[in-house]
Symmetry: C2
Subunit: 128 residues, 2 copies
DNA sequence: CGGTATCCACGTTGATACTG
DNA sequence: CAGTATCAACGTGGATACCG
């Protein structure tokens, strides 16, 4: 299985610019994990860690547990040495990808307008 | 201008069941405010308050400020007695409605599956 | 009417260290 | 390798009271 490239901070990445990203899927990191698994392949914990170096192991674990609990992904543990654990999207998890794409498309089309609006915002509240 | 009906807790309402609602737009209440203004009409602060009685004035003010700052809505204050302030979506704010509908459609189609998955979840992690 | 000011409880994130 | 334990820091959200 090929290594996942680290997910750079992209505009359509919920990890970056929460400020400029009005759409969120699930918890803070759910969207990025979905992106890591969107091709349908199963990934090991370490692969996900390597792809998302800015998430601590603890938070990644919590995110994966939460997604598992909601039925978005399935966890498979193999009793080997060294241990191996794999995560893959379920059909329910894959069903999130469409709306996620819609949100990302919005961000690509309009995201910069948010920054423009904030830059232009003075806090003045003229009286009509 | 007609009174806004209170927004009941609907499944596609981000206010209810954060747990079962994986999509969020902006801050906690941004989505509901968008819904209140989606018809394009301007609403007074008090109208929004009445429609969203479960949001405190402070938090509603913060939400409106944040949305104004991001360019999602425009605030108009009229120097009258008693004071009048109106909020209306900007074109940028209206552009959010499409993705919001997509997210709500997902929730209607798949939302119950999350609850099912949680009910079925035992925390057992069988070893393969 | 349309807000602010103040204070607080809570949940989430994060750093660090440790383990089967 | 794939986690867990612990603790600290922070931001959000909410209750209440007051103001121009």
């Amino acid at each position: 299985m090929s290594e996942l490239p680290p997910i750079a901070v992209r505009f359509d990445d919920p990890a970056c610019a929460d400020a400029a990203q009005p759409f969120r899927v699930g918890d803070k990191w759910t969207g990025v994990v979905l992106r890591c698994l969107e091709d349908g392949a199963a990934r090991r914990f370490g692969e996900l860690r390597a792809a998302l170096p800015w998430i601590t192991a603890k938070v990644l674990t919590e995110t994966l547990r939460s997604m598992e609990r909601s039925g978005f992904l399935a966890r498979s543990a193999y009793d080997e040495n060294p241990p191996r654990v794999e995560y893959a999207l379920t059909p329910l998890g894959r069903s999130l990808l469409g709306p996620l794409d819609t949100a990302c498309a919005w961000a690509r089309a309009h995201g910069t307008e948010i920054g423009d609006a904030r830059a232009a915002y003075t806090g003045d509240r003229p009286v009509a």
